[in-house]
Symmetry: C2
Subunit: 132 residues, 2 copies
């Protein structure tokens, strides 16, 4: 199960961007119709055997939060270091998509972009643990 970067994150003083590789340009057709996109990152700084072996964390690195399995968190440390974020799509200039706030680092590989369909927005009844 091998991933290939389709672009990368670029952080500048003027804003945050996803820069898509030229060979994937056709994949962007119609993306301007969406106000938000779902972005999957490869959390390359956490792609080490040691970090990928970590299965429990204190969420948000706050020792006050209970030790929790990584699958019950959004921790960037996990067996498959894929980050996930819904980003506002502010503008498009060719292969450069300007996005809103992101906590991804400059240079982080992007492995997928999906449209944000709002399907999750209907889940008003979701339940969360106390630490969240």
């Amino acid at each position: 199960m091998e991933l290939t970067a389709i672009g990368h994150i670029e952080r500048t003083e003027n804003g945050n961007y996803i820069v898509v590789d030229e060979r994937y340009a056709e994949g962007l057709l119609g993306i301007e119709g969406f106000s938000h996109i779902v972005v999957m990152y490869w959390l390359d700084k956490n792609d080490t055997p040691e970090k990928r072996a970590i299965l429990q964390v204190h969420p948000r690195r706050d020792m006050q939060n209970p030790l929790t399995g990584v699958f019950a968190t959004r921790s960037p440390v996990r067996p498959n270091p894929i980050g996930l974020a819904t980003c506002e799509l502010l503008s498009i200039d060719g292969l450069r998509l300007q996005i809103g706030a992101t906590d991804a680092f400059d240079g982080t590989p992007v492995v997928d972009i999906k449209c944000y369909t709002g399907e999750d927005a209907a889940r008003g009844k979701a339940r969360y643990p106390g630490w969240l």
Copy 2:
């Protein structure tokens, strides 16, 4: 950028399950606090060089829908065939998580589980193209 399955989907007459591999059991601690989880699948049936090269589709395989870049869709055909779904977490029995509706096939590898934080639910102002 190599992924490892952390479990797989099991579809039965009695329900749908994520069966987590024994070696990742510790990663589940605290997941019972969530009503919903975000699941990433490896869409193994689409993991061929031919399918991974497809960059434009008619969404939902409906020719009435405009030809659209895969990054502006939820198509299972894309350069990195990762599927994404928010699933209701119905019950937990050891390594078996019973989930609600899913369109994943029986046996589909699961590559990540994250908690559903509801952060997207606030985006009442999202905009979508006509085909959605």
